[in-house]
Amino acid sequence: MRSALFDKVDRLTLDRLPRTLLLLGDYGCGKHTLVKYISERFNLEVENITENISSELIDNISQRTSPSLYVIEGMKLTLRDENILLKFLEEPLKNAFIVILSESKQSILPTVLNRCQVWNFESYDRVYLNSLINTSCNRELLLSIANTPGKILEYQQYPIEDMFNLANKIFLNIHKANFANTLSLSRHLAFKNEKDKYNVSLFIDILLECCRKLIIVGKLANYGVYKLTSKLNNNKLIFNIDKKALFEHYLIELKEICG
């Protein structure tokens, strides 16, 4: 099953391909795959310019003669980068197609957003996602937190059940723990990509799902906890954020709410 956006690309010719495109979709939905598809369909060279956006680069690109696709990871753009980009977007160059990839509209400046054609990735069918699971992991739990093919393929290698158990324990027992004990929870997470600890982004997804489930079954009465966890889930997307500090701040506030 592929996204309808691929069919949309098939119906286009090069002169109808948008000069400035924003691909919007969750992690693992296929943004990079679509970029590769576009480049192969229209025989365009692809260059990721996220790390070196500058006026000099834009000038350099304006002198190139072969048509190319310039990819920008929207989540990594600074305010300075976005302002330089505005000039690029306002006066599209003949041989340049710009594609910005982002998981969230909120991370892109409105002035940049207004100058792009936005293509949204639609949600994936649960049956299709289920068919991608090829390990003996708990399917129900995995499907509750992984809504894209990329997430399914990546997350199924992790101990999802153990992570859900830990998340449950946090919400149900935090009121009994002291502060030192509460902060020690961050030792379970791989902030430095440690192999024997839990993936940080995945664990935060699991925390949110766990919180939602506990509220639904009535084991967690405090809606403030959900708001706080949701805020954590959004803030983890801020580029270059110190996730350990973010998580520990969350734990302190969670402890304060829960008592």
Partner: protein, 304 residues
Amino acid sequence: MTLQNLKTSIENKSFKPTSFILLSEDKFIPLQYINAIQKDLGFSITYIEDLSVISPDIEDIFSVETQDINTDIIVFNTDVVDFSNDILYNKNNIIIVTSKIDKSSREYYKNIIVEVPKLVEWQVKDMVYSMCSGIDNKYLDWLIKNCNNDVNRLYNEVSKLSLFNESERESLFLEMSNEGAFEDLSANTIFNFTNAILKKDIKSLKTIFDEIDSIDINDFGLLTILYNNFLNVINIQLGTNPTPDNLGMSSKQFNAIKYNCGYYSANQLVIIMKILSDIDRKIKSGEFPIDIMRDYLILSVLSQ
């Protein structure tokens, strides 16, 4: 034993290993005595990080296997002596070097404390002049002022100069000085800064802040160090049964952090952690300008 007795016994080589405490505001002179015992008298010296290494009786949260140390003299360099233990009376080869001793320990060890006065200004000058003969005193006075009279720092600098022949020293000094080798000399580092905040030592903080531009401090580095320090303090001060093992740290680190506990209440520590853990997010989401981060860090922590 008095300091004079110790000095005489080293000078006339009659010193025999015995246990005592060298107490001095500045450890420079005590460590020079130990150097002399080692180099001039030929005794072997072993430095230990913790007294529990040689005595199972020392009260400690964790259990450390005692070691048989085959050496003439054992030296334990610590910031504070706040224990009373027979070990110094039972063994005859332990020297403790410390800058502070609490009241009850002072009473317990009163017969074996050797108080070493700190070097005063003219003594520091004397030391520098004698080690750097051949260099005009006016240059050496400038160096002393630049090092803020810090004898440890000065000793490091003049030791390098004293390696050279007397006739070469002044030209070398001027060359080094022109190249900026002595510029931005500050005895303080980012760690002095964070320790002063951790211990609410306003006096030290004021001194360090006056020369902040000559200390290499990166604002995010400052945030990281302060954050980790306060986290360690919380783990030990607010933990139910903290041990080096369950906190994943060495016993030396654990003991060092213990002495940083108690300056803030539990409530203050929680508020401080909340502030420190949110600064990174605020800066990276644009809510907070980075150029005021350092001042904000200091004020928000110290105002608790």
